[in-house]
């Protein structure tokens, strides 16, 4: 044995130490799982802090600033407080499921991190179906909400869960359709492959419409404003997690924050080149830094958005999805697929690994295609807005007439001759 045992050759070390190869592999895998799952758990502490800080700045406040330097330890204090709170299980609740729901909530989010390519070399599992895996795990998330809402034995929780299910299932459609674009461009569903394919140009510039759709659908999937109907404090108190208290509630909250961050992370990977950046080929570990930086930009943008815009109504939410986002996503898929074939026929499609100059013609064509989609979408929106305005004006005029008529013929007076 000439090398020192480290995490890189752990499996070989264990085999040489007398373990069977299978067991050694299993132990190494378990170690990797613990490592990858710990990163999000630590991250969430800072996510809550930055969320409160950004919200405070938007509202012209300071935010947490007492516990630790610039309030960094505020979340730790809050978590400790949460642990000491009474853990209430409502009467008539389905105990086992009631306790299971927060666990599912957290597990589904952490599972997504398994396929995240942190650097060119470091990835939990480079499965060939990374994008689909992301969708599949996200779809389990709907189950947690239904289970939590139902098992609480509370009307508000159940109502909140119902409308949340409607929201999450609807927005899965544009989410999947927008993910088709990067998959078509990269020719693979592996997240590592999609990242590598963006060496010349980010997909954000090649397919801005898809990026927009992905971002909006993810806002709805993670329940962030303006789509935070999961937790509409002013309408149904708290929604599906109304009965939860103490640590279980904390798990729901933490999983929600983490889900939003994970969505930003996937946006950075799929549309902003993931770990790509200067010198990343020489020093692969730099990639993790770039990835975190890009994710932070996307995440903080979402925080500012959350602190700025009001919540939409459920019918507006549904109308936006089915009447605007889904048709837009379908049109986008058709146009991009057509453009890719045209580019291939013209020989303008850059070879894998080409630099930014080689990507320019393709990017320009794709951008033009996207601009056409945006222009058409805007025109449709404008026409819809005009029609709605005219309908409203007609309604107003009709009401005005009715009021005038009622004034002329007061109540009780015989109508007509």
């Amino acid at each position: 044995m000439d090398t020192v045992c480290s995490i890189n050759n752990l499996a070989r070390c264990l085999v040489e130490g007398g373990f069977s190869p299978d067991l050694a592999n299993l132990l190494t895998l378990l170690g990797g799982v613990v490592l990858v799952a710990t990163i999000p758990l630590v991250t969430v502490i800072f996510l809550i802090w930055i969320e409160r800080k950004v919200a405070a700045r938007v509202q012209d406040r300071l935010g947490p600033n007492r516990v630790g330097p610039v309030g960094l330890l505020q979340t730790v204090a809050d978590a400790l407080k949460m642990l000491t709170k009474e853990d209430i299980t409502p009467t008539g609740a389905d105990k086992f499921i009631y306790n299971l729901a927060p666990v599912i909530a957290f597990a589904t989010v952490i599972l997504m991190w398994a396929v995240v390519p942190f650097t060119p070399l470091h990835i939990g599992a480079d499965v060939g179906i990374g994008v689909l895996y992301f969708m599949a795990v996200a779809s389990i998330g709907t189950v947690k909400i239904m289970v939590a809402g139902w098992s609480s034995n509370n009307k508000y929780a159940l109502l909140g869960a119902f409308r949340t299910i409607a929201q999450l299932l609807s927005y899965e459609v544009p989410l999947v359709l927008s993910l088709l674009i990067p998959v078509m461009l990269a020719g693979t569903m592996s997240l590592q492959g999609i990242t590598e394919a963006q060496g010349g140009m980010w997909y954000l510039f090649i397919a801005p419409v898809a990026a927009f759709l992905f971002y909006v659908a993810n806002l709805a999937e993670t329940g962030r404003a303006p789509f935070d109907l999961l937790e509409a404090e002013s309408e149904i108190i708290a929604g599906y997690n109304i009965e939860y208290s103490g640590f279980k509630w904390g798990m729901f909250m933490a999983s929600e924050f983490l889900h939003a961050f994970t969505a930003a992370l996937f946006f950075a990977i799929i549309f902003m080149g993931g770990w790509w950046g200067p010198f990343v080929q020489e020093v692969p570990l730099l990639g993790a830094l770039y990835l975190v930086g890009k994710t932070a930009i996307v995440y903080v943008f979402g925080l500012v958005l959350r602190a700025t815009v009001p919540r939409v109504r459920i019918d507006q939410l549904m109308a936006l999805n089915w009447k605007f986002l889904v048709p837009l996503a379908i049109a986008n898929v058709l146009v991009i697929a057509f453009l890719i074939q045209v580019l291939k026929a013209l020989g303008l499609m850059p070879v894998p690994g080409a630099d930014i100059i080689a990507h320019l013609p393709m990017t320009v064509v794709m951008l033009l295609g996207n601009l056409v989609i945006i222009a058409v979408a805007m025109q449709v929106l404008r026409n819809q807005g005009r029609e709605e305005k005219m309908a409203q004006e007609a309604r107003m005029a009709a009401r005005q007439q009715r009021v005038v008529k009622e004034v002329r013929t007061p109540a009780g007076a015989p109508v007509g001759d």
């Binding site: 969708m135 189950v143 909400i145 299932l169 899965e172 569903m189």
Partner: protein, 177 residues
């Protein structure tokens, strides 16, 4: 015959998930519990796909089946009167269904065992090695749209689904408008 390694353990666990979950679905008196047992069972099937090196099918299994469980729960809540204490037996032909189910299972077992372990079966002649051909998602996609592949069944299936969707819209639509 069976080697003891990690995938054997996983196979046994997944089998327990599938069978246990399926048993739970049909025996529990609580509809919500039944749907959750169904998740367990379907998850086991997804695990089988992973063990068979078909991660695409595994992900689709989770996405399509487990993702739709929430809808199933919504239907259970909306369409039944008492979900938690089913006292009456709603299916009057449960004995017939049990017999048919058992018969089909027996047929399946025979169908699997005879060609493999029976006289002149696969294992009788030579110990067949696992197939070395790696089929990935690209192959699957090509097979679905290839002229010599499955393009006709694929298109027919999608047409059927579209028809079902249009039918559902027509039924659900308000006639008064």
């Amino acid at each position: 015959m069976l080697e003891f390694n990690a995938s054997t353990v996983a196979f046994v666990v997944m089998t327990l998930f599938i069978l246990g979950g399926a048993l739970g679905v049909v025996t529990t008196r609580n509809l919500i519990h039944a749907t959750l047992y169904l998740i367990l069972s379907l998850f086991g099937v997804a695990g089988y796909f992973v063990l068979l090196s078909a991660p695409f099918l595994a992900a689709v299994q989770v996405l399509v089946y487990i993702g739709a469980i929430a809808i199933l729960i919504v239907f259970a809540v909306m369409l039944t009167r008492s979900m938690t204490r089913m006292s009456e037996i709603l299916n009057g032909q449960w004995l017939l269904s049990a017999i048919v189910g058992a018969g089909l299972f027996l047929l399946l077992v025979i169908g699997v065992i005879l060609p493999t372990w029976g006289n002149g079966g696969l294992l009788d002649a030579t110990v067949s090695a696992p197939s070395q051909v790696v089929i990935d998602t690209v192959d699957l996609g090509k097979a679905l749209v290839d002229r010599n592949g499955f393009v006709l069944p694929f298109e027919v299936a999608s047409l059927l689904l579209t028809a079902a969707m249009i039918g559902a819209i027509v039924i659900a639509r308000d006639d008064t408008e």
